[in-house]
């Protein structure tokens, strides 16, 4: 049971209002991702839920019970920190068993749970090593192991993959998703990487300066961003925003077109190719369109276009329309 409800939660550090006031419902078993630029208050929000910070006002309910003033240990949540926060002087086995030992569980049951977690996470052969003798990915697994043995109501992850190299990150991303599918426990996952958010989440919460900009499934956010912030944040490469006369044609202050929704060949926009990156599977092209400005285009891998070429473009997918305040029309 891991239903979490935030009601009018605010958090200030002195004069700095990091979270000016926010409501959020997280359903049992959901994989929720908090995503937003660095410094927008994601970690603070997670720490409020964990109980590592006190709310300035508002209430936090976990599983229907008011947990606003409960100490972290009583909330039944487990957290995986960005730095892993493993205990360096303990072996992997002792690290994973630590929460069980603190709960006063008997030794045989501790061992049983540690062995099971270790086999799930492929740590069985490292149980007697210390964290200092492990690679980044293995340390990450130990941190997850320490979280899962407690069988918490929900897992909290704070940018758990940001210290790993790119290849490992993709692998761990999938492992965490698989873990969620097998455990079916609520997970709250914080990241500034929209790719992680898109690939892992059931529900994405886009944060900006402590405010929730939009909540929805990955595709909902991709298809119907509520404002220019969400539109620009979700999707890679970033959405193109066009102001002025071109936008006025669509009765909007600003229009947004995703790079993958532009075709190369014939069309109303003409420009000079600035930069072209060919990845084999895709091509990313920056085009200096006459009278509009720089437009990013995502084309097929075989696109034979190079710096200096004159090409024509056509918007071929949804055109997002925004008003003066940046809200979707």
């Amino acid at each position: 049971m891991g239903k979490i409800q935030l009601r009018n939660v605010r958090k200030s550090f002195g004069d700095v209002h990091v979270i000016p006031g926010l409501d959020l419902d997280i359903e049992d078993g959901e994989f929720v991702v908090f995503v937003g630029p660095s410094g927008c208050g994601k970690s603070t929000l997670l720490r409020l839920i964990a109980g590592l910070e006190d709310t300035t006002s508002g209430t936090i309910e976990i599983d229907g019970k008011d947990a606003t003033h409960l100490p972290p240990a009583k909330r039944g949540l487990a957290m995986v920190f960005q730095s892993y926060a493993l205990y360096p002087h303990m072996t992997v086995r002792k690290n994973i068993a630590f929460p069980l030992k603190m709960a006063g569980m008997d030794k045989a049951e501790q061992d049983r749970r540690v062995e099971r977690a270790a086999s799930v996470l492929n740590l069985a052969s490292y149980l007697d090593r210390r964290p200092g003798q492990l690679s980044g990915g293995q340390r990450q697994r130990v941190a997850i192991g320490r979280a899962i043995v407690r069988e918490p109501q929900a897992f909290l992850f704070d940018e758990p993959l940001s210290n790993l190299d790119a290849a490992l990150r993709v692998g761990m991303r999938q492992e965490i998703s698989e873990l969620h599918q097998s455990l079916k426990t609520t997970m709250i996952y914080v990241t500034h990487d929209q790719v992680e958010a898109m690939t892992m989440a059931d529900k994405i919460v886009v944060l900006n300066a402590g405010n929730i900009e939009q909540v929805g499934s990955p595709l909902e956010l991709y298809r119907n961003p509520k404002n220019t912030f969400v539109a620009g944040f979700i999707g890679s490469p970033k959405m193109n925003f066009i102001d002025g006369a071109e936008a006025a044609k669509h009765n909007a202050h600003t229009i947004g077109v995703r790079p993958e929704h532009i075709t190369v060949g014939d069309g109303p926009w003409e420009g000079t190719v600035g930069l072209s990156e060919h990845l084999g599977s895709d091509s990313f092209i920056k085009v200096n369109v006459d009278g509009i400005g720089v437009i990013n285009v995502r084309g097929t891998g075989e696109l034979d276009i190079h710096h200096g070429d004159r090409i024509k473009l056509a918007p071929a997918g949804k055109i997002h329309r925004f008003d003066k305040e940046g809200l979707a029309l």
């Binding site: 590592l52 920190f81 926060a85 205990y87 630590f98 603190m102």
Partner: protein, 290 residues
């Protein structure tokens, strides 16, 4: 970094200082060793000659010697115990975010800057003095007889004074070690359900082992040679109740003016220091490995 030529060059360059250090250490040691087998009293300079191991025999047979040995170890052990335990507790306390933290820390460190004879005089005259001392006033306030610290508990008093001087050192080292502990580790332990005592026992204390080792090793080196505090307060007395090995050597050399015997005592002190160092390194040395 280490080609043949750079290695040779670096050896050549450190050679002079190694040589100076070696001579600096070896010559006094050799001379002490030489005198420890000689008859050499300053009051009768015309009498001299070899006496074999008589000086050593005298030491081992003197009842004062074993008392002094015991006192030396009690001083080292007592001060270490007090400074490490209290130092850890005080470091925990002043690591908390409180108002005036900077001033508080300076106050805690201050005793370390007081010279040993001055510190001992302050304690003797302002705290422990049976007429004018603060403790006497306290005792009288409570309707009790003042305690004669230096007469009745001379060794404990010396240990107390020395511990007061060394407490800031231990606190400072332990405080910096504590500050290097990542707060996320403590938060993780908190989420894992560890009480504040369990966090201290399983997270903070293991993190401090290296710093505690350093404190013990450094303090031991200095505590084995403590002299000023005893000289200023008890003069090794009453009787020999607070005589330590260094103080006993001083009595032989300066009061009895028997250089030969004092030299033998010096050699015994060197041996004692090495035995202590051996056991310390065996017991604690592995804590220093990364």
């Amino acid at each position: 970094m280490s080609t043949h030529s750079t290695r040779l060059a670096s050896r050549l360059m450190v050679a002079p200082s190694v040589l100076v250090l070696f001579v600096w250490m070896a010559v006094p040691l050799a001379m002490t060793l030489y005198f420890s087998f000689r008859f050499y009293r300053l009051l009768t300079p015309d009498r001299s000659g070899w006496v074999g191991i008589n000086h050593y025999k005298w030491f081992l047979n003197a009842p004062e010697f074993w008392l002094a040995m015991g006192n030396t170890l009690a001083l080292v052990g007592g001060v270490l115990l007090i400074t490490v335990v209290l130092g850890t507790l005080i470091a925990l306390l002043i690591d908390q975010p409180v108002k005036g933290q900077g001033a508080l820390r300076i106050l805690v460190i201050a005793p370390f800057f007081v010279m040993p004879p001055v510190a001992a005089s302050i304690w003797e005259n302002l705290f422990m003095h049976p007429q004018n001392g603060l403790f006497a006033a306290l005792a009288q306030g409570l309707g009790m007889q003042p305690i004669l610290f230096l007469e009745q508990y001379p060794m404990s008093s010396v240990i107390g004074i020395t511990a007061w001087e060394w407490l800031p050192f231990a606190t400072l080292i332990l405080l910096t070690a504590m500050q290097s502990l990542s707060s996320e580790q403590l938060e993780a332990a908190e989420m894992d359900g560890a009480s504040s005592f369990a966090r201290f026992r399983y997270i903070i204390l293991p993190h401090l082992t290296r710093a505690i080792t350093v404190v013990i090793l450094i303090e031991t080196i200095f505590l084995l040679g403590i002299f000023g505090e005893i000289y200023t307060t008890t003069q090794g007395g009453p009787g020999s109740a607070s005589t330590t090995l260094p103080y006993m050597i001083y009595k032989q050399a300066i009061i009895a003016k028997d250089i030969g015997r004092a030299a033998a005592g010096g050699i015994i002190a060197v041996i004692l220091a090495n035995i202590v160092a051996y056991f310390l390194m065996r017991g604690l040395g592995r804590n220093l490995d990364a």
